[in-house]
């Protein structure tokens, strides 16, 4: 039985267009009370300290960018209400923000050396992280059209970028009494903390789906990171930052 199931799955992947195989796959899944869903969507949210530290005085701009995600989700229903949901997805988590900060610990790293100090002025931050995410969730059928799910997830950083630049302000070298290094006009300096990003992330995910018809569903999933996105020994950013993203998209259920 199991073998047949896997073979059918492979057949499906090989000739996705073949309605017959698809139908067969569909009936097999149905027999086992399994929802097999291919999901696509985009994420919107922030990589942010919680709460915002006193160093951040204002958010001048925020741009979520286009962060696409693609994945599969498998839900095994135990009864008419409860089930277990898991899967794997490739998630992009992106944002660009510009914040005005005061006395913000900063380190410009480049070439062979670094400049540390306290920055007052504008900080542009660009985050583009790609994760492989595996959630492990309880699923609950609210009605014939609504499903809910909740549980932890783990994510592995495939490719990460956390960088940006500072402008329109000044650095106090080393500490607030150090030499003032003003950056005015179009003077900027870059920073890049990409190498200090933590590879493993975990957090909680809560989501819901609305069944449009037998195959199509609209999905919303909130992923709330619970560990710092930076490595433990990274001290330049003095506060922890967390991934908090809402993924919106649709799914095709076989």
């Amino acid at each position: 039985m199991k073998k047949q199931f896997i073979l059918t799955a492979i057949a499906l992947l090989l000739c996705l267009g073949q309605a017959k195989a698809q139908q067969l796959f569909h009936y097999n899944l149905k027999e086992h009370h399994i929802d097999f869903e291919v999901k696509a969507g985009f994420s919107i949210g922030g990589t942010s300290p919680l709460p915002l530290p006193e160093e951040i005085r204002s958010i001048e701009s925020y741009n979520p960018g286009l962060a696409l995600s693609l994945g599969i989700q498998v839900t095994k229903w135990f009864d008419n209400q409860w089930g277990f949901s898991s899967g794997i997805s490739f998630d992009n988590k992106k944002m660009s923000t510009e914040a005005r900060v005061k006395n913000y610990s900063m380190e410009l790293i480049d070439g062979g050396g670094r400049i540390k100090g306290n920055w007052t002025g504008l900080v542009q931050t660009d985050v583009t992280n790609s994760y492989l995410t595996v959630p492990v969730m309880a699923a609950y059928k609210l009605s014939s059209v609504w499903d809910l799910r909740f549980g932890p997830y783990v994510a592995y950083l495939m490719d990460g970028k956390f960088s940006g630049h500072v402008s329109d302000g000044y650095l106090r070298e080393n500490d607030p009494t150090g030499q003032k290094v003003p950056f005015t006009g179009d003077a900027t300096a870059t920073y890049d903390f990409s190498d200090n990003l933590r590879k493993f992330q975990w957090g909680l995910q809560a989501g819901g789906s609305w069944r449009v018809n037998r195959h199509f569903r609209l999905n919303a999933d909130l992923q709330w990171g619970l560990n710092d996105i930076f490595e433990k020994d990274f001290e330049t950013i003095t506060f922890s930052m967390y991934n908090i993203y809402l993924n919106l998209g649709f799914g095709y259920v076989f």
Binding site: P51, Q179, A187
Partner: protein, 384 residues
């Protein structure tokens, strides 16, 4: 999908509503300083931990009560307005509003200083720059010392601005990697060595594609990291109540091979060349009472200029003599003896390893040595 803009709004609200109350200031700066009774001859010269007050002749420096404006919320000890004896430098401690940071300032009153005519670059002190997590940096500060060993002049240079490039490049802790340093093999004793440097790290290059070695009378104040021309306050506070006649000295020079042009519109020559000039200007007419890299050779406040012509500057392996006469400056201000005696004029002496260095044009490795500079001036009517 109707929900989407609402969610966006909600999330924005979430972030904005979380802005916390502003923390008390952590800085402990003297922002400005005033003295009662119009005794300041020039605006106060404020550096990160130093204040220089240039006062009029006849002012009793033994009893002055400067008042300070500080970073909001900061306090100063002894308090602002305390009368103190400024015949020698006094120290003040500023404490930040959050009480976590303290900075000690040295306040010097400059008055009736004997005017130097010989500059032999024999004095040098090491300035230490902390570099947390790594070794500290030291650079040279070049000084003139009298026969009693006391410092009579501190030359200004861009070294404090180069510290960032040095750190980003991970350069070793060696004062001779800085564009301006003291050199033991002078014509007599020590001399000054100026080298045009080219940072390697990309951020350092973005800030300053080249850094020419420079040495001048006045103050270097880091006002903008990528605009060195505004940081060089040529002749700031250098009151000169005499009529200068000529400037002479000795140099050695070797131009670097390849020009780096950071500002094409200010680029005039394909080979690098050193430069030296002395400028007497009317500080009461100059913006901010000093001249900077943009106007030092063009400002209408210039009274007399001694600029070694380009054809007399050249490469030289051995010590070579130069001599320049002060000339009235066309388009400048006519010499006025009354203004001179009143102490309205400042004198700036400037030298650089790359003549277009203020605009980031220069060749890496251009090296200038200067020694035994002499300034001739009329001390009294008819007495040279």
């Amino acid at each position: 999908m109707k929900k989407f803009p609402l969610l966006l709004l909600l999330s924005m609200f979430f972030f904005v509503s979380c802005i916390q109350d502003e923390a008390p200031n952590a800085e402990a700066d003297i922002v400005s300083c005033v003295l009662d009774g119009n005794v300041l001859k020039r605006p106060p010269l404020i550096e990160n931990d130093k204040v220089t007050l240039v006062v009029s002749v006849g002012v009793n420096a033994a009893n002055l009560a400067p008042q300070f404006e500080l970073t909001p919320g900061a306090t100063i000890e002894p308090p602002s307005g305390t009368a103190r004896n400024f015949t020698f430098p006094q120290t003040y401690t500023v404490t930040s509003e959050d009480k976590k940071w303290k900075k000690t300032y040295t306040v010097t009153v400059q008055q009736d200083r004997s005017i130097l005519s010989d500059y032999d670059f024999e004095g040098v002190s090491l300035v230490r720059v902390e570099n947390p997590g790594s070794y500290p940096y030291h650079y040279h500060q070049i000084e003139e010392v009298d026969s009693q060993g006391s410092t009579t002049l501190v030359w200004a240079s861009g070294n404090s601005g180069f510290v960032l490039a040095a750190k980003l490049d991970g350069l070793p802790d060696d004062p001779t990697v800085f564009p301006t340093c003291s050199w033991d093999e002078g014509r007599t004793g020590k001399c000054v060595k100026l080298v045009t440097c080219r940072p390697k790290a990309s951020a350092a290059v973005a800030l300053a594609p080249i850094a020419a070695g420079n040495l001048f009378t006045g103050k270097f104040v880091l006002e903008n990291i990528n605009e060195p021309a505004v940081c060089t306050h040529f002749g700031a506070g250098e009151v000169f109540p005499y009529r200068p006649i000529s400037l002479e000295g000795y140099f050695k020079y070797k131009a670097g091979a390849t020009m780096t042009v950071g500002t094409p519109e200010q680029h005039k020559h394909d080979t690098d060349m050193w430069d030296i000039y002395a400028v007497l200007y009317d500080a009461t007419k100059a913006t901010n009472s000093y001249l900077d890299g943009y106007n030092i050779l063009s400002d209408p406040s210039i009274v007399l200029l001694a600029h070694l012509p380009r054809e007399e500057r050249h490469e030289a392996d051995d010590w070579t003599h130069f001599f320049i006469e002060f000339q009235p400056f066309e388009g400048g201000t006519a010499f006025d003896e009354a203004k001179m005696k009143n102490g309205d004029y400042n004198l700036a002496i400037v030298m650089s390893s790359s003549e277009e260095g203020a605009y980031f044009n220069g060749a890496e490795g251009s090296t200038l040595y200067v020694d035994d500079v002499k300034l001739h001036y009329e001390e009294e009517e008819g007495n040279q």
